[in-house]
């Protein structure tokens, strides 16, 4: 299969089941909403080193938030339920509670699995906190020097998917980067997905384990490193000199497949040789995103 001359390799991305929370942050202006969201989602590229993967899903108009102020929706993902609760409390407590004018709401109100967040953060109020039940949901009002921080007591958790991906094999570093930027831009604000890496792009794709160390769980994906072409079993066509990866996490497989379709299409441009994907032979992750099926409109 080719799209505008770019080969779509006959392979698949292998992804994992993760736990997801959706956090709605509002504030007096987008300046402070973004400030809180950027801190909340900072250092959250991969569970390998950050314990959590997070990103901004999309910006929300004032008419689409619980308190009628501008907001953003953030997805925060971990490998287990227990972990998700801990990370939510740590991160919301350190980055949203601290940020002027913001409030924080649950974005999965219908999720059956719920974890206490406001119920833990309330103790910062040192006994001066108060709660309000509005429409059956409890909110905590934590007094702070600026005024009050409002946070919902419980946040919903659902099963999502982490590790959807595709690789952009470029003739040069410049063409690979341009294609990756276009792909990331095209997937921004796509409902139900986040791109947890810087700018949505990863230059250091990994393989499972290490040749040298038994304790490392991941190391450089040498088969896709152009500088190692002569010394390793390469997966790169001759004319490829740079590879960038787009990693996509989402609330469900369909959202990821839909975002991949948009992103791959945007990446297929002059200077890109092929689109590939990262997998582990299909034995580790239950979700397989076959590139050719996705681009043919058949989904995951």
């Amino acid at each position: 299969m080719k799209i505008r001359g770019v080969v779509i390799e006959d392979t698949f991305a292998e992804a994992f089941t993760m736990r997801v929370a959706r956090i709605i942050i509002t504030g007096s202006s987008m300046r402070w909403v973004r400030a809180a969201a950027l801190k909340l989602t900072g250092f959250a590229t991969s569970v390998i080193g950050c314990k959590v993967e997070a990103g901004i899903e999309r910006e929300l108009p004032a008419s689409g938030t619980p308190d009628g102020r501008p907001g953003v929706s953030v997805l925060l993902m971990t490998m287990s339920k227990d972990d998700l609760g801990k990370r939510l409390i740590e991160r919301i407590g350190q980055t949203v509670l601290t940020c002027p004018t913001t409030a924080c709401y649950d974005g999965f109100p219908d999720a059956a699995d719920r974890v206490g967040v406001g119920s833990a953060l309330r103790f910062f109020g040192d006994g001066f906190q108060g709660s309000k039940v509005i429409g059956g949901e409890r909110f905590w009002r934590i007094p702070v020097m600026e005024g009050e921080f409002l946070v919902q007591e419980k946040f919903g958790m659902i099963k999502g998917v982490g590790g959807g991906n595709f690789l952009i094999l470029g003739r040069s570093a410049e063409t690979a980067l341009e294609a990756a930027e276009r792909a990331a831009d095209s997937m921004a604000s796509h409902d139900g997905v986040i791109l947890p890496f810087p700018g949505g792009v990863v230059r250091s794709g990994s393989k499972v384990g290490s040749r040298r160390s038994k304790t490392m769980i991941a190391s450089t994906n040498d088969a896709f490193c152009p500088t190692l072409r002569a010394v390793t079993k390469t997966a790169l066509p001759d004319e490829v000199n740079s590879v960038l990866e787009i990693v996509i996490n989402g609330t469900d497989a369909a959202s990821i497949a839909s975002a991949m379709r948009v992103g791959i299409d945007a990446a297929c441009r002059e200077g890109v040789v092929a689109i590939s994907a990262g997998n582990y032979g299909g034995k580790l992750g239950p979700h397989h995103f076959h590139l050719r099926k996705i681009m043919a409109g058949d989904g995951a």
Partner: protein, 255 residues
């Protein structure tokens, strides 16, 4: 989907009538015939079936709509714990007395002690939403423990008397001694209020939880909330300091 039941007053009420047993749980799944057999207590003529006073139609769907002048109908939806009850006009005293869940929407005015505690009980409303589109009489929301009482017009004196917790929003003026002896709970006054002397001024700020509450009232019950009220500043008074002092009065700053 069914629109639920309708209860049309057959002729104007010549005496006060106690409706406290009409919507005792479970009522939401009762048919029109079954509900007609529930009794009400006439002030002079004693107990009669509801069906003698109201023509009840429709099929059960957890909703009932009362029509006619019910100014003399007292204690309707007392102890309400399910469903949505709408009253098209005015309603008598003690509506939604000690209600626990569900919604009571009064499209006209309500009498005294709306949503208050039943005689001999320490707690008033313990849940649900009681919406009075018009004005409410004295001691609305007295001893409220949880839930929401919204009054579109003015509230009589002592609204939120002895509140334990919960939320009261008054869009018109609030009468004297609002929130007197409250322990916790919030009274948001959007049309003028004089807090009792046992409340102390804290600050002027924008309470975000009130935005969530006001938007809910606007979206669900069609109560008109002005942008200035939503985004405006409120004076916060803590009280009642003669009690626990964890309650508050939030007074909207109109200018």
């Amino acid at each position: 989907m069914s629109d639920g039941l309708t209860a049309r007053l057959k002729s104007s009420l010549e005496q006060r009538v106690d409706c406290s047993a009409v919507l005792a749980a479970p009522w939401a799944a009762l048919s029109a015939d079954e509900l007609s057999k529930r009794t009400v207590e006439l002030e002079r003529h004693g107990r009669v079936p509801l069906g003698e006073l109201f023509e009840i139609k429709g099929s059960p769907a957890g909703r009932i709509r009362f029509t006619g002048d019910l100014s003399r109908a007292d204690r309707l939806a007392a102890g309400l714990s399910e469903g949505t009850v709408t009253v098209e006009g005015n309603l008598g005293d003690e509506a939604g007395l000690g209600m626990a869940a569900g919604a009571l929407v009064i499209e006209g005015n309500a009498g005294a002690r709306t949503g208050a505690a039943a005689p001999g009980f320490r707690r008033g409303m313990t849940g649900g939403e009681l919406i009075v589109q018009g004005s409410a009489g004295a001691e609305a929301g007295a001893s409220m423990r949880r839930g929401m009482l919204a009054i579109g017009g003015r509230a009589g004196e002592r609204v939120g008397l002895g509140m334990i917790a919960g939320n009261i929003v008054v869009f018109g003026t609030a009468g004297e001694n609002a929130g007197l002896w409250s322990k916790r709970g919030s009274i948001a006054a959007l049309g003028g209020i004089t807090p009792p002397a046992s409340y102390a001024y804290a600050c002027t700020y924008q309470p975000i939880h009130l935005r969530v509450m006001l938007l809910r009232l606007q979206t669900l019950y069609g109560i008109r909330v002005r942008k200035r009220q939503l985004a405006g500043l409120y004076r916060r008074y803590s009280g009642d300091l003669a009690e626990l002092g964890k309650g508050e009065i939030l007074e909207w700053m109109a200018t």
